[in-house]
């Protein structure tokens, strides 16, 4: 028995040796000419060289989490510093931070000190401990011969591109141009094929930065077949990913004769002919409906008044027994955007809020105590939910919502606050 075992072992050993030796008889061609490490180094060099060749800067078409929209950043790189502007802020604002191109399990472009503009969709808070799914570090996926750099968010995985700032533009003029183009997305749109066969309808959320497409019927904010973030260019917009409807495709669209046409001409966004009321016609009674943060539907009669700036609207009677009765809306591209209302100061911070139907008698603003009842400021960049003055994060009133946020920047008419301007869909009608 032992002898048989011994033979089996020797046989197995011999097979092993023969198999191993056979591996030397054939030579497979390597898939890559260089090692992974060498290829990453080469890509890093290529990206550095591309960045160095364009002292005028790059346009980063930034996409965060789905449904958050696309944003133009213009970034000038110089001696390890990045000078960042963004369409989501005043165009003359320039943030300065440091950047590096790092070797990790790939080449990574890291903006590794703080920039408020870049952290807009990333920064965590009590109410959003994971941030909003954005990135400040990007894997470099490739650099082409025109120095276009393909990037992918390191944690959010959104694909985006960064290309040299086109000739004739300054960072400010580029951002102004894309803002102007975004204004062309006015009202809602139908989608046609190149033979003008109607394929569906589209509404744009966030002023046209998020396109909700419904095949056939007219969509509302909650029912759609496709949802794509869009980033605007001076001559059109680019979708975060390709849109395919009925065999027609499109990702890059150009404005032509009032219509947004895909680069191959097969997919067309054209206005549905419904025009929004003019700003001056907004004054008067309306019915306001909204879904609160938790999806519950509410509606009530309100009165809107206009102001001298030609874009700000106030709802004058949103609350029945309240001291705070103004909710600020902005009239943008024929759509209404809900903007935080500046409430006052607390411990040196500027406090903003969006207030919906709630028990106002229990939440009176006072600069000394801020609210009647218990109040705790936990962080200067956080959103708080109040319910009958019990201020636990995550609380909300049964039939409404109050959101607060604290900022350290001096209020201005254009101030947009991190979390407050993207939370709710509202609708008004006569």
């Amino acid at each position: 028995m032992n002898r048989i075992k011994r033979y089996i072992e020797m046989f197995a050993a011999a097979v092993l040796v023969l198999c191993s030796a056979a591996s030397c008889l054939f030579k497979n061609e390597d898939v890559f000419e260089q090692t992974a490490s060498a290829r990453i180094s080469a890509l890093m060099d290529k990206a550095r060289e591309a960045i160095d060749r364009h002292p005028e800067g790059f346009v980063l078409q930034y996409f965060g989490q789905e449904g958050r929209g696309g944003y133009n950043f213009v970034i000038r790189f110089e001696s390890g510093k990045a000078f960042i502007s963004c369409e989501n802020a005043e165009t003359d604002r320039v943030d300065e931070c440091l950047y590096d191109i790092l070797k990790e399990d790939g080449a990574v472009l890291s903006f590794n000190t703080y920039s408020g503009l870049l952290q807009y969709f990333h920064e965590p808070s009590f109410s959003d401990v994971d941030g909003a799914g954005g990135d400040y570090e990007f894997r470099i996926e490739g650099v082409d011969e025109d120095d276009n750099i393909r990037l992918k968010g390191k944690t959010g995985y959104s694909k985006m591109q960064m290309f040299p700032l086109p000739a004739g533009y300054t960072p400010q003029s580029w951002l102004e141009a894309v803002k102007q183009m975004q204004k062309q997305w006015e009202g809602d749109f139908y989608i046609y094929s190149d033979g003008y066969e109607r394929l569906g309808s589209c509404i744009g959320q966030l002023g046209g930065k998020v396109l909700c497409v419904k095949l056939g019927a007219y969509p509302d904010a909650n029912t759609y077949d496709y949802k794509r973030s869009a980033v605007y260019t001076p001559d059109g917009f680019r979708l975060q990913s390709k849109l395919e409807i009925g065999g027609y495709y499109g990702q890059d669209f150009r404005l032509k004769d009032g219509e947004f046409v895909s680069t191959d001409g097969t997919l067309i966004f054209a206005s549905n002919g419904l025009t929004a009321p003019k700003y001056e016609d907004m004054a008067g009674p309306w019915i306001l409906s909204y879904n609160n943060y938790f999806g519950k539907y509410f509606a009530k009669v309100i009165t809107i008044s206009t102001s001298k700036d030609g874009e700000t609207l106030y709802i004058k009677n949103l609350f029945s027994n309240r001291e705070l009765d103004n909710v600020k809306l902005k009239y943008v591209n024929g759509r209404l955007e809900l903007h935080p209302h500046y409430l006052g100061k607390y411990e040196g911070y500027f406090v903003w809020g969006i207030l919906f139907d709630t028990k106002q008698s229990t939440v009176l603003w006072d600069e000394q105590t801020c609210t009647r009842g218990v109040f705790t400021r936990e962080n200067n960049r956080d959103v708080f939910y109040f319910s009958d003055c019990s201020t636990a994060v995550g609380d909300y009133s049964a039939d409404g919502l109050i959101l607060y946020e604290f900022t350290s920047e001096t209020p201005s008419t254009n101030t947009r606050i991190n979390n407050l301007d993207i939370l709710c869909d509202i609708c008004i009608y006569r």
């Binding site: 011994r6 072992e9 050993a13 092993l16 040796v17 198999c19 191993s20 030796a21 591996s23 030397c24 030579k27 090692t35 490490s37 060498a38 180094s41 550095r48 001696s79 390890g80 300065e96 931070c97 440091l98 590096d100 191109i101 070797k103 990790e104 890291s110 903006f111 590794n112 000190t113 703080y114 952290q119 990333h122 920064e123 965590p124 808070s125 009590f126 401990v129 994971d130 941030g131 400040y136 570090e137 390191k154 944690t155 962080n379 200067n380 636990a392 994060v393 995550g394």
Partner: protein, 291 residues
């Protein structure tokens, strides 16, 4: 049996060696080690002169997720705030220990070899935040650096220096343990993670709610709270602890003082006086000036 196993191992090794017949030539001119190519700025040079050379401490202000806790979403530290933090840490912490021990040797030998700054807090889903961590005595991570307010010494102490002294005290007791009788002073009141709900910590003889987590945290909280409080603040805390809590806290601080003096030759009262004096000197550091 043993001989047979040995044979099998020999055969397998021989097979593996035979398999290693790669014919790729080595390139002696190419290094697989990548040099740091990042641009060095004036702050980097300052850190080299003020942290690396005297203390052999690396002050990492550029965000590196590999050095952070990847279970949290974190934001990088602001550059200007980082330069301020570096100067404050040096003045209020490292040099305070230098002064009380009479040289840099103590910090060089025991202080963690890396500071890592994070701009945001580390938010927990239970509504708490993490202000700092110390890992294996090697690294102190400080969060919420973007909220540094150089004009508010109390905030600096509460948020940052309390954390630094807390984490450093962990390293000290992990190197040489404190007397075991300390653990009996509040034995039945330690509640692990339920400390966040402990509103009666003072009466139970804890200086902070977090102290009631477990004895090691309690021990370092007493030290860090003591050295970052003025005598007036400490007395106020003792008064608030009442008849029940006060004697326990007094016993705890007595043990801490004896431990620090006997084990590390550090007089906690002297250290506290030095820190208080240095806190009043912050205005002279020119923190608003760029490095």
């Amino acid at each position: 049996m043993k001989t047979r196993n040995f044979h099998i191992v020999i055969v397998m090794l021989a097979s593996l060696l035979a398999a290693a017949c790669n014919s790729d030539a080595l390139d002696p001119d190419k290094s697989v080690i990548t040099e740091d190519t990042s641009v060095k700025n004036s702050f980097d040079e300052w850190l080299y002169t003020n942290y690396v050379i005297p203390y052999n401490i690396r002050f990492l202000y550029k965000m590196q997720d590999i050095e952070a806790d990847i279970s949290y979403t974190l934001s990088p530290a602001d550059y200007t705030k980082s330069t301020q933090m570096a100067r404050i840490v040096k003045h209020l912490c490292l040099e305070a220990y230098d002064e009380v021990t009479g040289g840099k040797d103590f910090i060089c030998q025991y202080f963690p070899k890396m500071f890592h700054l994070v701009g945001s807090a580390a938010y927990n889903s239970n509504g708490t935040i993490m202000l700092g961590t110390a890992e294996g005595g090697l690294k102190i991570t400080l969060y919420m650096v973007n909220d540094v307010d150089i004009s508010n010494v109390q905030l600096l102490n509460n948020y940052y220096f309390h954390t630094i002294h807390h984490e450093f005290a962990h390293i000290l007791h992990q190197t040489k343990n404190y007397p075991v009788e300390y653990k009996d002073l509040s034995g039945k009141f330690y509640v692990q993670d339920s400390w966040i709900y402990n509103l009666e910590y003072l009466e139970q003889g804890f200086v902070t709610a977090y102290s009631s987590k477990e004895p090691n945290e309690d021990f370092v909280e007493v030290i860090s709270t003591y050295v970052t409080s003025t005598q007036e603040e400490w007395e106020k805390l003792l008064t608030a602890a009442g008849e029940k809590g006060r004697p326990i806290i007094e016993k705890k601080i007595a043990i801490c003082k004896n431990y620090m003096l006997a084990t590390w030759h550090i007089d906690l009262d002297k250290l506290r006086t030095i820190i208080e004096r240095r806190s009043s000197e912050l205005g002279m550091l020119g923190l608003d000036n760029a490095l």
